[in-house]
């Protein structure tokens, strides 16, 4: 919990004093760099400064500390406990080391033992403000045979900035502080009883001449006894450290939140599945460096949009930079045809000498598809069948089998570069030939139509276009899921399927293409998703048959 706990004492000689204080030091944020973290600065350094500043001024007053005002001896470095799970360190000293906290605790201590006292002078109370923090305080007496009135007054304060949190925790704090207090009281009571048995103080005091001025001094060394001596508990401060640390931890974890987040997208699932497969392969091969899941996650920020996997090395030379760029270079009609082939799952063969150019084109084109639908052969020296790859880069001299080039199920693009270097791609448009594009009209899957609108709108930045594309893909993936459930899992008939297509908005103009797209994209669903749907059905069947 964002709080600190302190034990305070009203010393007969010196008034309210802080005896012992446990604070929780939180690790730096586990999150990626936050705008605020820079402001927090190096806490440790600051502590040091404050201390040297204040230490000189207070050096003269140190002599005022009596036994009763002190917990750990001056030479004691304090206690620390580390919560290994969270990295929180619980530190105990007589005072908080940070000057601001010092004065907060000081305030809390003085108020808890002077004005903010509950009736009967023993019990819980709440006070505070935004400037000095809020305080849950519990005052109590400890028996002392040598003290005025045979008892000494203490308080345990819990200080926090979150007022509501502290009040919410009231019943919990009260329950556990009572345990602490009662335990201290009963231990001290035993000591008190023993001492009174040996030497009844009442009688001693009745018999001695009393003068208020000299009373504290009469008892000289005993005037202010430490809590250790009152409880005869040799490890009292270590135990209190443990109790307070536990209290801070337990109060912070008393309530836990269960917060759901959205299911991962299909693209994420597929990427994770592929990575797991890779890891397994590597393990099977006998080790090697395991790719870390965390690494890939951080790389996924942008990767989701383009399905970035196994990108080959960067090479110099002209490149396609975005879908819009590709469209500009190819020309609207050609781009539309190419995109159509990509969306429908036809094989796209790109022949040329410039590997880098072909790779950049594939990287951009595969963003049109769900990750699960993308199989790329970046640059091959021989033809690969369509079931192995839907993006195939070839060197110009590789022969394409006749059945492929005549079937109409592949888009073959050919580029030849003459100039090298930073030449703009526009100049190569002339050298770019597209073969084998179907002339079937109209080529109008709804998704492509919408994408083209975004691409042609020059007011939209490349980022906006990729967001639009993501929206479109997710929208159609959700239709794919329904169709998969309907036709593959439940095995419904044609008539029902038609109804589903209608309600998904896949019918009407471009229906044939839409359906074709849906069917192709179905192959890109993650195994996780498919098996989940299958088992869910079996689960339901089981419950029905029971």
């Amino acid at each position: 919990m964002n709080a600190l706990v302190a034990l305070c004492h009203f010393c007969e000689l010196h008034g309210p004093r802080t005896l012992f204080c446990t604070e929780a030091v939180h690790p730096p944020s586990p999150s990626p760099p936050q705008p605020c973290s820079a402001l927090l600065g190096d806490q440790g350094e600051r502590d040091g400064e404050g201390l040297t500043m204040r230490a000189n001024s207070s050096a003269t007053q140190r002599a005022d500390m009596c036994e009763g005002c002190r917990s750990l001896p001056a030479s004691h470095p304090g206690f620390v406990s580390v919560d290994s799970e969270t990295g929180i360190r619980y530190l105990s000293h007589q005072h908080p080391r940070q000057p601001q906290l010092f004065s907060m605790v000081r305030q809390a201590c003085v108020r808890s033992l002077s004005c903010e006292v509950c009736p009967g002078r023993e019990g819980p109370i709440f006070f505070g403000d935004e400037q000095h923090g809020f305080v849950f305080s519990h005052t109590f007496f400890i028996k002392d045979s040598l003290a005025r009135g045979f008892q000494r007054w203490y308080s345990i304060v819990m200080v926090a900035m979150d007022r509501i949190y502290l009040i919410n925790s009231w019943p919990f704090l009260l329950r556990h502080l009572k345990l602490t207090i009662q335990s201290l009281q009963s231990t001290a009571l035993k000591v008190f009883d023993t001492e009174q048995g040996v030497c009844p103080q009442r009688a001693v005091r009745m018999n001695s001449a009393f003068s208020p001025a000299v009373f504290p001094h009469q008892r000289s060394g005993n005037a202010a006894r430490s809590l250790t001596s009152l409880t005869q508990h040799p490890n009292l401060w270590a135990s209190l450290h443990a109790s307070f640390s536990w209290l801070l931890k337990a109060c912070g974890s008393r309530l836990t939140e269960k917060l759901l987040e959205g299911a991962p997208t299909e693209d994420t699932l597929v990427l994770i599945e592929r990575q797991t497969e890779q890891e397994e392969e590597m393990n099977a091969e006998g080790g090697g460096n395991k790719p870390q899941l965390g690494q890939s996650e951080s790389a996924q920020g942008r990767g989701f949009l383009c399905g970035d996997d196994g990108k080959p090395e960067e090479t110099a030379g002209p490149k396609f930079r975005s879908l819009r760029h590709l469209r500009q270079v190819l020309g609207g009609a050609e781009f539309r045809q190419l995109a159509w082939h990509v969306l429908m799952g036809n094989q796209v063969i790109w022949r040329g000498t410039d590997r880098g150019l072909i790779q950049s084109a594939f990287n951009i084109l595969k963003a049109l598809l769900p990750v699960g639908c993308v199989r790329v052969e970046w640059y091959s020296s021989q033809y690969e069948e369509a079931y192995r790859c839907n993006f195939l880069g070839l060197s110009p001299d590789v022969q394409i089998p006749a059945h492929v080039s005549s079937s109409g199920t592949a888009a073959i693009t050919r580029t030849s570069t003459n100039g090298r270097g930073t030449q703009l791609l526009k100049s190569e448009t002339r050298n770019l030939q597209l073969f084998n594009f179907l002339s079937k009209q109209p080529l109008s899957p709804t998704l492509l139509n919408k994408l083209e609108v975004a691409l042609t709108n020059e007011n939209l930045s490349v980022e906006v276009v990729s967001h639009c594309l993501l929206c479109l893909k997710e929208e159609w993936m959700n239709k794919v899921k329904v169709l998969f459930k309907f036709s593959k899992v439940d095995g419904r008939g044609r008539e029902d399927t038609q109804k589903v297509l209608a309600l998904l908005g896949a019918t009407g103009p471009g229906e044939e293409d839409n359906v074709r797209l849906l069917k192709f994209w179905m192959t890109g669903l993650s195994k996780t998703y498919k098996s989940h749907l299958m088992t869910a059905v079996r689960g339901v069947e089981r419950t029905l048959s029971q």
């Binding site: 964002n2 010196h14 004093r17 201390l51 207070s58 005022d64 500390m65 470095p77 406990s81 580390v82 919560d83 969270t86 990295g87 000293h93 906290l101 000081r106 305030q107 108020r111 004005c115 019990g123 109370i125 709440f126 935004e130 000095h132 923090g133 900035m161 919410n168 009231w170 019943p171 345990l179 335990s183 009963s186 035993k190 009883d193 443990a242 109790s243 640390s245 337990a250 836990t256 269960k258 917060l259 759901l260 987040e261 959205g262 299911a263 991962p264 997208t265 994420t268 699932l269 920020g301 989701f304 975004a454 929206c471 959700n478 329904v482 309907f486 439940d490 996780t528 998703y529 989940h532």
Partner: protein, 712 residues
């Protein structure tokens, strides 16, 4: 339980008017400025945009919680989050033309709540009280405001003898209101199984839940044919637009789901954050329910009005799926477990003593009851609120109330017993306002006079025992208006203005003559947590603020139903204004909104604290149905009619909600760096229709705060 509220007792103490040095006329205006300044600084709070990376999981929930944990952290020293006006402001703006005459009175209000006799009932009320403290406090603030007004009004009464009567009547009326609200807050019926929370907490019965949810939803849609379906679409548009906590629950995560696959899972990052940087989960939950996730911060409630009980309940049930919040678990020691790490002197470390000697020792029980806790918000302010739990013997009132029906059966300790639909009695006001005859100030008092019940002995009030305020030492420093800072000036070291420490001798700060290396603390093991069991928490807002078909309008509930909007119409605007001034959320709020859905007239209106009612008889403006929501609803329900498994339909519903989230990302990306929006362009380019724009903008504001500034 009725005992409880009938025993709420108001103690008012105030002193003679005293001049307040340094609190002149000008400062009243000052407070107003400070308040509006807090709002603008809130708007300008630089929240990073997690929307910039689309795969960021629960980013906005995480962000909110992280900022909270930082804002309430002690590690940076005290950072006042806002300066609360804790004082009674009793200056009558219209009368105080002469600043020298502006005088302040010192007033303290105590509310004493007597607990029920049965220990179990007493225990559950206490648990409820402390976990719902912000709501109680908000009603205290309302009471405070009413007393202020009473003070001002009674000053206008010419005749001295009547002045007290007018004052008393007003105060008693406010007290009656307070009691009734508290009683209602505790006793009103709740939705027994809110769909979303039940799904979160019990994944085993998911299928049945989904079935029931879809069935109820399609019943609403089918019922009145077209009108009804438009009604539900409109209602859902409004709910999804303002109760924004659903957004993080559809933001895709980057982690492989553990189990059940493909379904949502608990956010790991938030879990880790809670452990390492604790924040108040109850606060987070309250913010979720009120939809305070956007920027600027808006809080929202939804009220469903209708005479057809079944229909209203059905609508409430369906909405309990869309109004979301996190589920809370409570880690407690199993009952009977007395050994606690909180005990610094466990038996083995102390010298064994014969039992007979321990005469004064009380047996330790984990559930040691509260004896006399008291709650004192700062003394340094003029007002002292004090809540006393006094275990007094039950008043004779309990006899009477037990006959009243709703209370009779509720012997069970559950804080939410079923309450019959019977209309609640107006809270009794136990003192007669005699001699009252001033029409100009007495508006609204008739019903108090009319509904007088036999004097309740427990209600006692002491007013006007004049006592010169002895503390003239109000330090100006304490009242100094602090600049509103969140995390900006953490570094600025604040001089401790220790007013108390000044009078006292300064406690020496221990000298640390050691170098950093020497100062290494003795490391001790952290005590292993004593055995705890995790059980669903009962006293959290998710269970208490999703109300059922209530006998009366409830100002606190995130969702509830009522049969008539009569009282709603009376209170709504004042309640919304109050919410903005004294948000129960413990953070500044820019706007308070209430969605009112009328199932009889099939209309949905949104009332807001920002705009006054335009037309007479109307609560707010009508909701434009978002086309996205309408198609979403219809296609989910069509899937349902095609006999697709309910579980799958709900998954599809979630997918469609996720689509809305993605669309909001596009919108945010589009608006980045823009000054003005062309709605037409949005439609063409992004496929965003104008009917969807308000919804998408609200969703976008949860992850990209700049959106609101461009669109609104």
């Amino acid at each position: 339980m009725c005992v409880l509220v009938s025993l709420v007792c108001l103690v008012l103490v105030h002193s003679n008017p005293v001049d307040m040095p340094g609190r002149g006329h000008s400062e009243d205006g000052d407070s107003g400025i400070a308040r509006s300044a807090s709002l603008s600084s809130l708007l300008a709070t630089p929240l990073p945009s997690p929307g910039s990376s689309s795969g960021s999981g629960c980013a906005s929930s995480y962000q909110r919680r992280w900022l909270r944990s930082q804002a309430t952290s002690l590690q940076h020293g005290p950072i006042p989050r806002w300066s609360t006006e804790e004082m009674f402001s009793l200056s009558d703006e219209s009368c105080s033309s002469n600043p020298a005459m502006a005088r302040r009175k010192k007033i303290a209000v105590s509310i004493i709540i007597s607990l029920p006799e049965k220990e179990e009932e007493s225990h559950s009320f206490q648990e409820f009280f402390f976990s719902h403290f912000p709501l109680f406090e908000s009603h205290m603030n309302k009471l405070k405001t009413a007393i202020e007004r009473a003070m001002i009004v009674c000053r206008r009464v010419a005749e001295a003898s009547q002045r007290v009567q007018v004052y008393l009547c007003r105060v008693m009326e406010a007290l009656g209101e307070f009691r009734m609200t508290v009683w209602n807050l505790y006793m009103a019926p709740r939705i027994t199984e809110p769909v979303w929370l039940t799904m979160v907490s019990q994944s085993a019965e998911r299928n049945q839940l989904c079935q029931r949810f879809l069935k109820e939803m399609s019943l609403i849609m089918d019922h009145g044919a077209k009108n009804q379906s438009v009604f539900l679409s409109a209602l859902l548009t409004a709910v999804l637009m303002y109760h924004l906590a659903w957004v993080p629950t559809v933001m895709p995560s980057n982690h492989l789901p553990i189990k059940p696959v493909c379904q949502k899972h608990a956010s790991h990052t938030v879990d880790l954050l809670a452990k390492s940087h604790p924040y108040n989960p109850l606060w987070a939950q309250l913010g979720d329910l009120y939809g305070a996730l956007g920027s600027p911060v808006r809080v929202c409630r939804t009220v469903v009005v209708g005479r057809r009980r079944e229909l209203v309940q059905r609508v409430l049930y369906v909405l309990s799926y869309f109004i979301r919040c996190s589920d809370l678990q409570e880690n407690t020691q199993p009952p009977g477990h007395t050994d606690s790490p909180a005990n610094p002197c466990p038996p083995q470390t102390t010298k064994p003593t014969p039992l007979s000697e321990r005469t004064n020792e009380k047996p330790l029980t984990p559930e040691s009851e509260l004896t006399q806790p008291a709650l004192f918000p700062e003394r340094t302010n003029e007002k002292t609120l004090r809540v006393d739990f006094v275990d007094t013997s039950p008043a004779p009132v309990s006899e009477r109330t037990r006959e009243k029906g709703p209370v009779a059966g509720s012997a069970e300790p559950s804080p939410f017993p079923e309450v019959t639909n019977e209309r609640l009695e107006c809270a009794e006001v136990g003192q007669e306002c005699f001699g009252y005859n001033n029409d100009s100030v007495g508006a609204g008092l008739e019903h108090i006079l009319a509904s007088q019940s036999p004097p309740v002995q427990r209600v006692k009030f002491t007013i006007g025992s004049p006592r010169e305020a002895e503390h003239e030492e109000r330090q100006c420093g304490l009242h100094r208006k602090l600049p509103h800072r969140l995390l900006t000036d953490i570094r600025q070291s604040e001089s401790s203005d220790s007013s108390l420490g000044d009078s006292d001798e300064e406690e020496p700060l221990p000298r640390q003559p050691y170098t950093a290396a020497e100062m290494r603390e003795h490391e001790l093991p952290l005590p292993s947590s004593c055995q705890t069991e995790s059980r669903p928490s009962v006293n959290h807002f998710g269970r208490s603020l999703l109300g059922g078909y209530c006998p009366q309008y409830m100002p606190d509930f995130a969702l509830h139903g009522i049969s008539s909007d009569q009282r709603l119409k009376q209170c709504l605007m004042a309640d919304l204004e109050h919410t903005v001034l004294h948000p129960a959320l413990d953070e500044p709020v820019a706007e308070a909104v209430c969605i009112v859905a009328d199932t009889d007239r099939l209309c949905v209106q949104v009332a807001t604290s920002q705009r006054r009612v335009c037309e007479p008889g109307r609560l707010g403006r009508d909701v434009m149905v978002s086309n996205l929501i309408h198609t979403l609803l219809t296609s989910v329900l069509q899937l349902h009619t095609l006999n697709i498994a309910a579980d799958f339909c709900v998954m599809h519903l979630e997918d469609r909600l996720q689509e809305i989230y993605f669309k909001s990302c596009s919108l945010a990306e589009y608006l980045r760096g823009q000054r003005r929006v062309h709605v037409k362009e949005l439609g063409l380019a992004l496929g965003i229709e104008s009917s969807d724009l308000p919804l998408l903008a609200a969703v976008a504001s949860t992850h990209s705060p700049y959106v609101a500034q461009i669109l609104l």
